[in-house]
Amino acid sequence: MTIAATAGRGLGRLYAALMNLPERPMRWAQGHLPDGRLGWLFVGPNLAIFAVFTFLPILIDFYYSGTGGTNLLPTERPWVGSENFASLTSCQDYLDPNSCVRDQFWYAIWNTAKFVVLQVTLMLVFSLATALVLNRKIIGRGFFRAAFFYPVLLSPVVVALIWKWVLQRDGVLNAAFVGAGLEPVEWLLGARSAFGWTVFVSIWAHMGFYTLILLAGLQAIPADIYEAAAMDAAPPSRVFRRITLPLLMPSVLVVLVLGLIRAVQIFDEVYVLTGGGPGSATTYLVEFIYNTGFSSQVRQYGLAAAASLLLAGVLLVLTLIQLRGMRPSKGDGRG
């Protein structure tokens, strides 16, 4: 017991000492910097690391997207200007990937579009439903909340392995089917079926996080509003539509923005689960980028960089639209 106490005290002293380390330089800075500039000191370290390891690589990628060849060092690559972008966007018929020069890219675009629409919608619906249920007086609410959140903690590779193990031809799902007298199904072999399972697995893995956000939003709605509605004998559906949903909008916005970004960038889970198959039915955009830049034997890194920039551009536009579109109902002006 005394060892623990001494260790605790030692750690406490360490903490106090660490805390005091920047005290004096900061006071000096506080005295000497004009008001408002102090903010930069706090943001500084984070911003510096961010600039070097996130922003700078993106700038380098901008350079890569204008180069060709197969060398990895930017200095050894020939400049080709907008050739990569041109080849990515040249199609006779944008709706038919087969007519495009980069048909895999366009398969990926349409697959991703379908995936995003389906997955984000369904995830919102299920997260909302779960949040509504969890908001009631439930015994063991903490346990259920934790259970729904648990898959969020698993790495995407683990998530995919878990479901691959369940869905394979000799997996437990087919065993259940056989046990019930039905024929085993090739879950990941049909295009529609594989696509559906990628949607399911990604919802399974992330739903808990969004459920918690929506749950918090629900709990922030003051109870008196509901009591007032009860006194007016308003039907539950109207209460939901007129009261709950509008007040929940800020949380729904968070879910939509984050969910959309993640859905468009889906990669690891699907890659391990289906590898992009059958054919290219579940090849999404980031897998195309990965295949082009990393796993083909002739790496076309410039093309991959160009595709990522196109992807980021579209995503940025979509996010801005969402933010603008929802701004008036946000309520607090701190943005």
Partner: protein, 350 residues
């Protein structure tokens, strides 16, 4: 007693369970089974031997064929139950199998060999957990070292992440300075770029800075997370400014305000960021794979994958390794669970 009864039956307010309550519980129970079931199945499957893994239909519990020592034979012999033919109902041990005929003996009377066609028998199975799957992994390499590497990287990176992100979030939420909005938006905008395409330029930068083959090469690039800054900023926005004003009037330095007031009050959000950071760093695979080339610097997920060759996939090791990677995150989650759910709640509302 009456209070207990009231608590147990707390419902929408009618005092009885109506159909919506039943439906809610059913939904939650089914949902929990769906969320946790596959993980449990993975863990159970990881205890099966390679032969057990390819059996279809798969058995719930790991099983292995029973073997008995039979006098006159040096090694234990596998047991079978005979289902058809002359010896139906007997349990015999197999000595040898050639093509479609097996030579078997009765363990009680090992002198007389009996010929049995292979289709007339089924294996006799018993419960047996293949701890070897784990044992082999742990023995194959220096498990302790890789565990330490992962723990070191995860803890240091988490501490740095909490420190740097909270400082930045503090500034972005409590200070008004030109460039505040652009910095924040810039951080968010970089979330749009898929991480895959950042790997190569990041490696070139890390090589220039001398951070390759080094745990710091894994730590430094990862600590300035936009998500962390976003989460903490949203939370800190809810802290009342009067507290800070009062402290300023007492002549406290800004640093002290940060350490003594804002940080302790942000505990729920910090707990969330902590678990996320632990989860991200512990599970991280691609970046350590690029930046670490020497075995002694490997993190645990990387080392656990080293038996993956080009041409073969050994499912039993794959499953065991997946479970091993799962455990630390599960444990931390179980401990911090309440803080996390609280923290996400507070951060997500605004």
């Amino acid at each position: 007693m009456a209070r207990l009864a009231r608590m147990m039956t707390a419902t929408r307010g009618h005092g009885r369970m109506d159909w919506t309550d039943w439906a809610s519980y059913l939904y939650l129970i089914l949902g929990t089974a769906l969320m946790l079931g596959p993980v449990l199945w993975l863990a159970l499957s990881s205890l099966k031997s390679p032969a057990g893994l390819i059996e279809f239909p798969p058995t719930l519990l790991p099983q292995e064929q029973v073997r008995v020592s039979v006098p006159n034979y040096p090694n234990p012999l596998p047991l079978y139950r005979i289902t058809k033919g002359d010896h139906a109902g007997q349990t015999l041990a197999e000595v040898r199998k050639i093509g479609l005929q097996a030579t078997m003996v009765d363990p009680a009377a090992p002198e007389t060999p009996i010929r049995v066609p292979v289709e007339d028998r089924t294996k006799l199975m018993q419960f047996h957990a293949a701890w070897d799957n784990y044992g082999d992994l742990l023995q194959k390499f220096d498990f302790g070292r890789y565990l330490w590497n992962s723990v070191f990287i995860t803890s240091v990176a988490t501490i740095l992440t909490l420190l740097l992100n909270s400082m930045a979030a503090f500034a972005l939420s409590k200070y008004k300075f030109a460039g505040r909005e652009p910095v924040f938006l810039l951080m968010l905008a970089t979330l749009m770029i898929p991480p895959t395409i950042i790997l190569v330029p990041n490696y070139l930068i890390a090589a220039v800075l001398g951070l390759t083959d080094n745990p710091w090469g894994v730590i430094w690039p990862a600590v300035a997370t936009p998500t962390g800054v976003f989460l903490l900023r949203q939370y800190m926005l809810t802290l009342p400014d009067d507290l800070l004003e009062a402290a300023r009037m007492d002549n406290a330095s800004e640093w002290r305000i940060y350490w003594r007031i804002v940080l302790p009050l942000s505990k729920p959000a910090l707990a969330v960021l902590a678990i996320f950071s632990v989860m991200w760093r512990w599970n991280e695979f691609l970046w350590p794979m690029v930046v670490l080339g020497r075995n002694e610097t490997f993190t645990l997920p990387l080392a656990l994958n080293s038996f993956q060759g080009e041409l073969t996939t050994q499912w039993n090791y794959l499953l065991a390794m997946t479970v091993v990677t799962l455990i630390p995150v599960t444990v931390i989650f179980a401990l911090l669970q309440r803080h996390i759910t609280q923290g996400i709640a507070s951060a997500g509302v605004k």
